[in-house]
Amino acid sequence: MVVFAFFVSAVFATLMRESAGEQLRFGARLMGGFVVGGVVLGWLLYVLPF
């Protein structure tokens, strides 16, 4: 999941931002969001009874 989040974030950041610094910051934020979102969603599904 982390590797997948890395690739997707890196491509999106490269597409959506122009300078390398902006790409790095946006990519890191995006990747953090993907990883944290995935873990939170995983725990929510774990708690659900179905």
Binding site: V3, F4, F7, V8, A10, V11, T14, L15, A20
Partner: protein, 132 residues
């Protein structure tokens, strides 16, 4: 109005569709052609690597089966990566091993790599049209 139209027409690249075709065949080639070197190199490295990860994780390159619409959609997404897909097919890779624990992860990598390259082609089109 006429000035705006003239300015937009002046910035449209004459080889827009050739650029899109190049961007599809080789990920990042469109951006390299348009002089966006940093972006082009990033796509050239990231997308084939993501596709290779999908193959390594024993994902499947889906066949075009019209009777199974979801499989056909997955196949269309796989083709989006361009030359790496054709190479993998030529080398009989991407058969997929359904019982492998990483099978679904591999499919996700292969499909998303193709879809991301389609986005990259659209971005190259926008740049060639003078919109970015």
């Amino acid at each position: 109005m006429a000035t705006t139209t003239a300015r937009v027409a002046a910035t449209v690249h004459p080889h827009t569709y050739a650029i899109c075709a190049a961007a599809w065949v080789v990920p990042g080639a469109g951006h390299l052609w348009l002089g966006r070197r940093q972006k082009g190199i990033a796509f050239l490295l990231l997308l084939p690597l993501m596709f290779a990860c999908g193959l390594w994780l024993e994902g499947r390159l889906f066949p075009f089966e019209i009777t199974q619409p979801l499989v056909a959609l997955a196949a269309a997404a796989d083709v989006g990566i361009g030359l790496p897909y054709l190479l993998a097919k030529a080398m009989s890779m991407g058969a997929g091993r359904v019982v492998a624990i990483t099978y679904e992860y591999g499919n996700a990598f292969l499909i998303v790599a193709g879809l991301l390259n389609m986005l990259v082609v659209l971005d190259a089109f926008d740049i060639a049209q003078g919109r970015k």
